[in-house]
């Protein structure tokens, strides 16, 4: 088990990819990266490999996208056409906008060169000569640190023209978003990158066919790209072996927040722990030693779990099997004395606020659900409101242009079904029974 405590303990594990460098203010500089972390050796190795070799190692690694969908990264890279009339692009999704998620922030703060090296390798593998890091607007400090690291990489010849004398050119640009959740959706991100309104595009075509500026484009999460140097250096099989579960390789950075004693970013081997172990062993248990009420396992869009469901292994497939999702690996812990109606109201308000407004069910439905939940929370609910909520959610779920509709509907359906008695108590009693 490879772990890192946010309060400075640091991981002591044998295969701790990131966490050992977190909280180390020297780690972000290129000298540290070159001397202490074997920096840019993977890039040299990659230049000696063919594009197909690199993509094959990626496939072997069982690396699944760390942004939320969990799509196998090697397969995604394989979708890029070898020949393209338009320039290809590699885009890093650093929007990290899913509530509860803050792991990519630490990668950018402490190990930005892992991301840069990963992007140059990725660019080489797919034949892209320009990369973009689309970073959320609120991450002003991280944008600055990234730019400093990029400047260092340019100065040392790891970015720019004729990298390491190989003739391969790769430029990297940091693009700051303006603070919209929807711009974490990859096609909305591309629109925003192009200077357009941040709205998701109709798919197909998928970005691998027509993405940024209509060129074939790969969009990967920060963590996904930052592990690429490890995979290239030590092989896909090694990385795959870090995962303790089928079809899921490597380590996972997880963001734990809410009512736990030690919230923060932790690194665990994929599939090595249950949620119970994470909460009680890793994070010291529920704040104030209260009873656990609920866990939101994968960012606020993930369907909620009750205290009885936390013996599930914390990884993509096991969570999907029980009807929730690992998402961006953001685990939010809720103790017994917190009002779940209020919590759902807050989540739904977020999605109503962040809906881009282009497609009907999400634009109209999210606000409607927000209004109904708010009514229930404040004691003005009606008996038929729960059935209404479930039906509105059903009319949104799976019927919208992008995944934001599902993200809003999932919590509503799971909260109302799993904590029905709390909602009924609000409707009948006019106030929260738990607070």
């Amino acid at each position: 088990m490879n772990i890192m405590h946010p309060d400075g303990g640091g991981g002591v594990a044998t295969e701790n990819l990131f966490a050992q460098h977190f909280k180390n203010d020297e780690a972000r500089f290129i000298d540290y990266y070159l001397n202490k972390m074997g920096g840019y050796t993977a890039l040299k190795k990659a230049f000696g490999m063919s594009q197909d070799d690199i993509i094959n190692e990626m496939k072997k690694s069982n690396l699944r996208g760390r942004g939320g969908a969990g799509f196998p990264t090697g397969v995604k890279w394989g979708f890029i056409p070898k020949q393209s009339a338009k320039p290809k692009y590699l885009v890093c999704n650093a929007d990290e906008s899913e509530p509860g998620t803050f792991k990519d922030r630490d990668i950018m703060r402490y190990t930005p060169h892992l991301l840069i090296e990963g992007m140059v390798i990725g660019g080489f593998a797919i034949g892209a000569h320009h990369g973009y890091i689309y970073i959320r607007g609120e991450y002003t400090r991280e944008a600055k640190l990234l730019n400093e690291a990029i400047d260092e990489a340019y100065a040392k010849g790891y970015l720019g023209k004729n990298i390491l004398g190989t003739g391969f050119d790769f430029d990297l640009t940091v693009h700051r978003g303006a603070g919209a959740y929807i711009c974490g959706e990859e096609t909305a991100l591309l629109n925003s990158l192009e200077g357009k309104r941040g709205e998701p595009r109709v798919k197909p075509p998928f970005p691998a066919q027509s993405g940024a500026f209509a060129g074939p484009t790969i969009v990967n999460n920060v963590e996904t790209l930052a592990v690429v140097p490890f995979i290239v250096n030590r092989g896909g099989d090694w990385f795959s072996g870090l995962g303790k579960i089928e079809r899921s390789g490597g380590t996972r950075l997880i963001s734990v927040s809410g009512h736990v004693k030690k919230p923060g970013v932790y690194e665990i081997n994929a599939g090595s722990m249950t949620i119970r172990e994470i909460i009680y062993d890793l994070c010291g248990g529920v704040l104030g030693d209260k009873k656990l009420k609920a866990v939101i396992p994968g960012g606020s869009s993930a369907p909620v779990l009750t205290a009885d469901e936390i013996d599930v292994v914390y990884d993509i497939d096991p969570l999907m099997k029980i009807g929730s999702m690992m998402g961006s690996a953001a685990l939010m812990v809720v103790s017994e004395d917190y009002c779940v109606v209020k919590l759902l109201g807050r989540i739904t308000k977020f999605y109503a606020h962040e809906s881009c407004g282009q497609c009907t069910p999400c634009r109209e439905g999210c606000k409607w659900m927000e209004d109904v939940i708010e009514r229930i929370e404040h004691g003005h609910g009606r008996e038929q409101d729960l059935a209404l909520l479930l039906d509105i959610a059903d009319n949104i779920n799976g019927k919208t242009l992008c995944a934001l509709g599902d993200a809003a509907a999932g919590p509503v359906m799971s909260f109302v079904k799993k904590f029905k008695s709390d909602f009924e108590a609000h409707i009948r009693g006019g106030k929260c029974p738990n607070v």
Partner: protein
């Protein structure tokens, strides 16, 4: 051709054709709001979602190309549930003010609501409202009715070539408006009202004039320029109330310009001369024609014809000239600066042509030359036109007789005015700039005492065959009743 199955019916399709279009070919209607065949596909309204076998989620038919062997269901429970859901979502914030809305009766939202929606609504919160915005002289905006389909945004950017409509704000607060709230710039603005699937963008000109279902519709051709856009004229009680474009993929696709759209106004205008005038005072037909004959008698006559006349009318004038004024010059006029078809060209990137009359090319086909100047010695001119050809300067020679459609101010230049028919009152052929022959169709009966050109020329000739005008009066009266 490849085939797919839609609701059990085998449908052939062309590669890339989307399911909405393929379904139409086998008589299956898939309801849409944001989809328009002339605009890019955005799949935003979600109304057209259908079930495609072997695909988990519902697929929007507008953005799904048919593929060989694809099996599509448009009537399944899942599809119907989604349609009901979308209709409810679209209506929760819609004011449902159909009784005072100009779009009622021809509104996609209203029609689809009846067909696919539910009569019962569960929404009890306060409806969303927006402030009003003046969008210039053509379009009236009512944002409260808007369903955010973005057809207008796409029409402006993709067809009219002006990015003037935009979405601002986000989510439930999204507002469709103009850039910085400015007035619309495009001279194709009327199309915004046509493509709006609800009453959010309506024509100011038509506002509160007529309920759509009372209007009688005639498919005809625009006379506004040599493009010959296909249109519908809508009238009630012999008064034209509006022009709508009619789809013709070869000529105007789905669009018309504002000039063509509002061209009809002169037809029922109060200053149109619709009674015969002799020596600038109102007259009856017999006396007016007699005065006209007298005015040109014994003089050297020139016949000037507008290129707004139909082929049939022009041929009639040629026969009339040959018989009544042998050797007289016949020349055409129409648009200043566009004398011949070689002068005619596209006036913009979309539809407008430089020739502002419909039949310049037809007139040339009949061998009628462009009017340059009057030959020496001409001392009487007969001008024959429809309603659009710009009257030429005659260099001081008296315009003796005007036949056709004239406004009061134009009529003052003639000794005699014999009121004819506009394009909306007659049938006939016009030839557009691409050489395509099309027909004007009669949308309304003659306005006032106007008569067709054939009738006028027949009377002119007939009265000439008898020495006694008094006898002719009876005969003409009978003929006029035909």
């Amino acid at each position: 051709m490849p085939k797919c199955i839609i609701d059990g019916r085998e449908a052939e399709f062309k590669a890339g054709e989307n399911l909405v279009e393929v379904a139409k070919t086998v008589g299956v209607e898939i309801p849409v709001f944001c989809y328009h065949p002339g605009l890019s596909v955005v799949a935003q309204c979600r109304m057209c979602a259908v079930e495609v076998e072997k695909m988990g989620k519902l697929q929007t038919a507008c953005s799904t190309p048919a593929t060989e062997g694809m099996v599509v269901h448009t009537q399944s429970e899942k599809v119907k549930k989604n349609q009901k859901g979308v209709m409810e979502f679209l209506l929760i914030n819609h004011p449902l003010d159909c009784p005072i809305c100009d779009k009622a009766g021809e509104c996609d939202l209203q029609d689809n609501s009846y067909k696919y929606g539910d009569a019962y609504m569960r929404y009890t919160e306060e409806r969303r409202t927006y402030l009003d915005l003046d969008m210039g002289p053509v379009i009236k905006k009512n944002m409260n009715r808007c369903i955010h389909c973005t057809r207008c945004i796409r029409f402006g950017a993709e067809v009219a070539g002006v990015r003037e409509m935009v979405a601002v704000q986000r989510g439930n607060n999204t507002e469709i408006t103009t850039v910085d709230g400015r007035a619309l710039e495009t001279d194709y603005a009327g199309n915004y009202a046509d493509i709006c699937p609800t009453g959010s963008l309506t024509l100011k000109d038509f506002r509160f004039k007529k309920r759509a279902w009372y209007l009688k519709k005639t498919s005809t051709v625009c006379e506004g320029c040599s493009r010959g856009c296909n249109i519908e004229l809508h009238q009630e009680n012999n008064v034209i109330h509006r022009t709508l474009p009619r789809e013709n993929q070869q000529i105007n696709k789905w669009w018309i310009c504002d000039e063509g759209r509002f061209n009809f106004r002169y037809v029922n205008a109060s200053d149109r001369v619709s009674t015969p005038h002799a020596l600038r005072v109102e007259s009856d037909w017999t006396s007016a024609i007699e005065t006209a004959r007298t005015a040109v008698a014994g003089k050297k006559v020139a016949l000037l014809v507008g290129t707004d006349l139909t082929q049939e009318e022009l041929a009639l004038v040629q026969q009339f000239g040959a018989k009544s004024f042998p050797g007289a010059m016949i020349a055409h006029f129409g648009t200043s600066g566009v004398k011949n078809s070689s002068d005619d060209a596209d006036a913009d990137a979309l539809l407008k042509r430089k020739s502002k009359t419909a039949n310049l090319h037809g007139a040339e086909k009949l061998g009628i030359p462009a009017f340059e100047s009057l030959p020496a010695g001409v001392n009487a001119v007969v001008v024959i036109r429809g309603g659009r050809a710009v009257l030429p300067s005659l260099g001081g020679v008296t315009a003796s007789v005007g036949i056709g459609v004239f406004a009061g101010s134009q009529a003052a230049g003639f000794e005699v005015v014999l009121p004819g028919l506009s394009f909306a009152e007659k049938e006939g052929t016009v030839v557009n700039s691409a050489g395509v022959e099309q027909k004007f169709k009669r949308a309304i009966g003659p306005v006032g005492k106007s008569k067709s050109l054939s009738e006028i020329l027949m009377m002119w000739n007939f009265q000439g065959t008898s020495p006694h005008a008094s006898q002719n009066q009876k005969v003409t009266a009978a003929a006029g009743g035909v």
